[in-house]
C-alpha cells in the first residue's frame, strides 16, 4: 500500500473546535429514506402532531432502519426534495416546530450494569428501533450488519476512527469529547459479537484524540488502540482492514466472512446513545468547513435545512459556489442550500465563488498512468473510462469496474482533470 495517495488534511482549525449544539430548526425536513436497503414509507400524515423521537417512517423489511422526528410539532407536508444520500429526489416529511419539545419515550434506557444480562436480541432490536445506520457514509442498517449467522465467529472488531476525508473532523471530536460514551458503545458491540478482539484504529495526526483513546480504552479487555499514519483511502473499511490486519477482502465478500466487523466511531456513539440513553438517531455531529468564517463541529438535528446552519454561521449566501456534504472526495454536492441534514451528513463543506481558483479544464488523457498507480483497489480507471465513453459496459465490467470503492482518488490525481470516478460509477451495477 506504499502507493496510496496522500491528500492534504485541511483540518487544522476544525479539529481543535469543540462540538457546539446547533438550535433546533423551525421546520425540519426529514427524509423518509436515508439507509441503504429496503425503502421506508411515511407512517404519519399531514396535520399529525409528532413528538421528539417518534417514529415517522418505517419499513417491514429486515434490511431497513426507521426514521424519527427530531422535533415536536405538526406535519406540514410530505414532498419530494433532493436527497444527498442518493443524489436524487425522494420523499421528505416537513415538520413545523411547536417549540414544546415534547418527547416520546418509547426506548427505555438500559443501565450499564444491566448490559451483561441483556440478550443480543434485545440489543439488536434496540439498534434497529433507534434507526441506526452506518454513519461513516455507507448507510447500511447497523442491526443487520451486526446480526451474524450463528456459526460465524468474529475475531476482530475494528472501530474505524480514521476519518480520512479532508476537512471532516466530526469523528475526531467525538473521539476527544465522547471517549467514555464510545467505550461503552464498544462494550455493546463487543458483547453482540461474542467478545472479539477490539482494535480502535485512528490516524496519528489526531494528536488530541489519541491519548484520550488510550486512556479510555486502557482498562477494556482485549482492546488495542492503533494510531498510525493512514492515508485518506485507508478510511475505507476494506482498505483499513488491509492496513490493520494485512489481508484483502475479496470483492463481494462481506467483511464478517473474513472474521472482522468494522464500525465507524459515529455509529458506535449512536449505539451507546440508543442503548444507554434510549435515544433514537435524531441528531449527529457534523463538521462545517471550507470557505466559512469559522470552521466548526455542530451537534445538529437530522432534518435541519443546511441553509439554517449556513446563515447562523455567517456564511455569505451570495458567495457560495457549491456545498458538498459527506466529504469532498466521496460526498454529494447539494442542489440547493435548503437540502437537509441526513443521518449520513458527516460534514458540510462550502466552496465560495470568491475563493474559487481558476478551474482547470478537462483535457485529453496524457497517458501518464497516474490514475492506475493511485487506485487503492488496483483498477485501471482510464481503461474503464474509455470503455464507458464508448458505451461498452460489458468491457467496463470485465475491467472490474464493480470493485471500485468510489474513493475518487483517480479523478483527484488526474492531471488532465478527467472525471474518471464518475465514469467508473456509471459502469458500476
Amino acid at each position: 500500500m506504499a502507493n496510496l495517495v496522500v491528500i492534504k488534511e485541511q483540518k487544522d482549525i476544525a479539529r481543535k473546535t469543540p462540538i457546539e449544539d446547533f438550535p433546533d430548526p423551525k421546520i425540519a425536513v426529514v427524509l423518509v429514506n436515508q439507509q441503504t436497503g429496503a425503502a421506508n414509507t411515511p407512517i404519519v400524515s399531514v396535520g399529525d402532531i409528532v413528538s421528539i423521537g417518534q417514529k415517522i417512517a418505517d419499513s417491514k423489511q429486515r434490511v431497513s432502519a426507521p426514521v424519527h422526528s427530531p422535533i415536536s410539532g405538526k406535519v406540514l407536508k410530505i414532498e419530494n426534495v433532493f436527497n444527498s444520500c442518493f443524489g436524487y429526489e425522494t420523499e421528505a416529511i416537513f415538520i413545523e416546530n411547536d417549540g414544546k419539545k415534547t418527547k416520546e419515550k418509547n426506548l427505555t434506557p438500559i443501565s450499564e450494569s444491566e448490559l451483561a444480562k441483556t440478550t443480543n436480541e434485545v440489543l439488536l432490536k434496540r439498534i434497529h428501533d433507534a434507526g441506526i445506520i452506518g454513519l461513516g457514509g455507507a448507510g447500511f442498517p447497523t442491526s443487520v450488519k451486526l446480526s451474524l449467522p450463528a456459526d460465524k465467529k468474529i475475531a476482530t472488531l475494528i472501530v474505524n476512527g480514521a476519518e480520512g476525508e479532508p476537512y471532516d473532523t466530526a469523528d475526531e471530536r467525538l473521539m476527544i469529547e465522547k471517549t467514555k460514551n464510545l467505550a461503552r458503545g464498544v462494550r455493546v458491540v463487543r458483547q453482540i459479537l461474542g467478545n472479539p478482539k477490539v482494535i480502535i484504529a485512528t490516524k496519528d495526526s489526531k494528536v488530541e484524540a489519541v491519548p484520550k483513546l488510550h486512556e479510555a480504552f486502557s482498562q477494556e479487555p482485549n482492546t488495542e488502540v492503533i494510531a498510525k499514519h493512514l492515508t485518506y483511502q485507508q478510511g475505507d473499511a476494506s482498505i483499513l482492514q488491509k492496513a490493520i490486519l494485512d489481508y484483502e477482502t475479496p470483492p463481494g465478500k462481506r467483511s464478517y466472512e473474513m472474521g472482522t466487523i468494522v464500525q465507524n466511531v459515529a455509529t458506535i456513539n449512536a449505539i451507546a446513545n440508543a442503548v444507554f440513553e434510549g435515544e433514537p438517531l435524531i441528531s449527529r455531529v457534523t463538521t462545517l468547513n471550507g470557505d466559512v468564517p469559522e470552521p466548526k463541529n455542530l451537534l445538529v438535528k437530522i432534518g435541519t435545512p443546511i441553509s439554517d446552519i449556513l446563515k447562523q454561521n455567517n456564511v455569505d449566501l451570495n458567495d457560495i459556489s457549491s456545498v458538498v456534504v459527506g466529504g469532498v472526495l466521496m460526498g454529494q454536492a447539494l442542489q440547493t442550500i435548503n437540502d437537509p441534514i441526513t443521518k449520513r451528513t458527516s460534514s458540510i463543506i462550502v466552496f465560495a465563488k470568491s475563493k474559487a481558483k481558476k478551474g482547470q479544464p478537462t483535457t485529453a488523457c496524457i497517458h501518464c498512468g497516474r490514475c492506475i498507480t493511485a487506485c487503492p483497489v488496483r483498477l485501471h480507471p482510464i481503461a474503464i473510462h474509455n470503455a464507458v465513453t464508448k458505451g461498452d459496459f460489458e468491457k467496463a465490467e470485465k475491467l472490474w469496474a464493480n470493485d471500485c470503492i468510489a474513493c475518487g482518488t483517480c479523478s483527484y490525481v488526474c492531471p488532465s482533470k478527467i472525471t474518471l470516478a464518475a465514469s467508473v460509477k456509471m459502469a458500476r451495477k
Binding site: 470483492p251 451570495n318 472526495l329 442542489q335 442550500i337 435548503n338 501518464c368 492531471p415
Partner: protein
Amino acid sequence: MSNESSNELVVNPAPHITSTMSKTRIMQYTFAALLVITIVTSILWISVSCPTDSQLDSYPTLSNVWQMPLGLILLFNALIAMGVAVGIDVLFNKVVSDSELNIWSSAVFGLIVALSYSLGVPAMAMGADPIPVANFTAPNAFLFVALIALIGQVVFKKVQGIGGRKLVNPAAAAKLLILLPMLGSMLLPSEHFASFEAGGLAMPRLAGPIAATEIIGSNGGGGFGDYLIGCFANPSSMEAGNLNSLMLFNKFHGWPGGASSLLVIIVGIALFALGYKYFKWKVTASYFVSIAIMSVLMSTIYADADLLTRLLFTLFIGSSIFLGFFMATDPATTPFSGTGQLIFGVGLGILTVLIQTYMNFFGGSILALIIMNLTVPFIDRIRIGKPFGRK
C-alpha cells in the same frame, strides 16, 4: 423556506477537489528541464566554432556552410524548432475547431527536436569521408530541424493524435523520416569502414572485440575508445581528451541533448523528483539497467579487453542518455502501468544495444524507441496483478 433556493449551486460529481498537478504543469516542468539543458549545453559549446578553421581548410564539402559558434547553432535550432511547433499548434487551433491549444507541449516538442538533432563536425572528420558533415552545422541543420519540427508536429502529433492515442514518439518518428534518405551515410557509421580504404578512420565493429586504445584481433584500424575520442572530443583543441570525462561531461558531436551526460542525469532526476509519480521514471531506470547488462554481456561474448569502453559508449552516447530521460518517457507513447513501463524500458535497452551492435546504427535508440512504441498497445493489454482481494 425563503428565496435561497434561487441561489444556483454548482453540482459536480465527486470528488470535489483535485490535486494541483495538471497537464500544463507537467509540461512546464519538462520545458524548464529541457531549457536548462539547452542553455547549459549552449554555454559549454559557445567557444567552439563549427566547423573549425582547420576543418574548413581541409574539408571540401564544407565550403558552403556558415562558420558559427556551436552553442549558437544549438540556440538557433531550439528557437526554430519551438517557433515551428508552437506556430503550427496555434494555426491548428485557429483553423481546426476541436484542436486543443497545447503551447507548452509544443514548446517541449520543439526543444526535443533541437536537442536530438546531431550537431558538430567531429574532430576525426577527414576530407575524403563520405559523411555529409555539412548537415551537422548551419545552415543545413536549421533547415532539417525546421523540417523535422514541421513533419513531427503536423503528421506525428496532430494527425496521429486524431485517432486518440499516439502510437510513435513524434520527435523520433519525424527525425527518422526526414533523415532516412541519409541512413547509410549519416546515421549508420558503417560508411566509416569504407572510408578506411579511402584513408579515413577505420572504426572497430561493435560485433567484435573492442578496447580503449588497442586493436584486438583484426577489428578495425584503431581502438574503439580512440574512435570515440576522435568522434566526440573538442575539434578545436589539440588535446585528444580522456574517454571517461568525455563521455560523462562534455561531448562536442552528436545529440546536443546528451552532450553532457552528467547534466542530463542531474536535470532528469530533478524533474522526476518534482513530478514524482507523474513521470515514467521506471522506463528510464529499466532502460539504463538493461543497457548496462546487455553491454557487459556483449563485452563477455566478444571478449573485450575491458568492460568499461563498451559500457561508456552504450550508456553515455548522447542519443541514449537523452532519449532515456526525455523521449522514452513520453507519456502518450509508453505503457500505462508501472510493470508495463519496466517491460518497455527493458525491451528498449535490449533493442538499442542490438541495433548499435549489429546494424552499426550508433544512435539506434531512436529506432528501438519506435519499435517499442509499436508494442505499447499490446503491453497495455497485459494485466499484471489482480484488483484488491482478487486471486
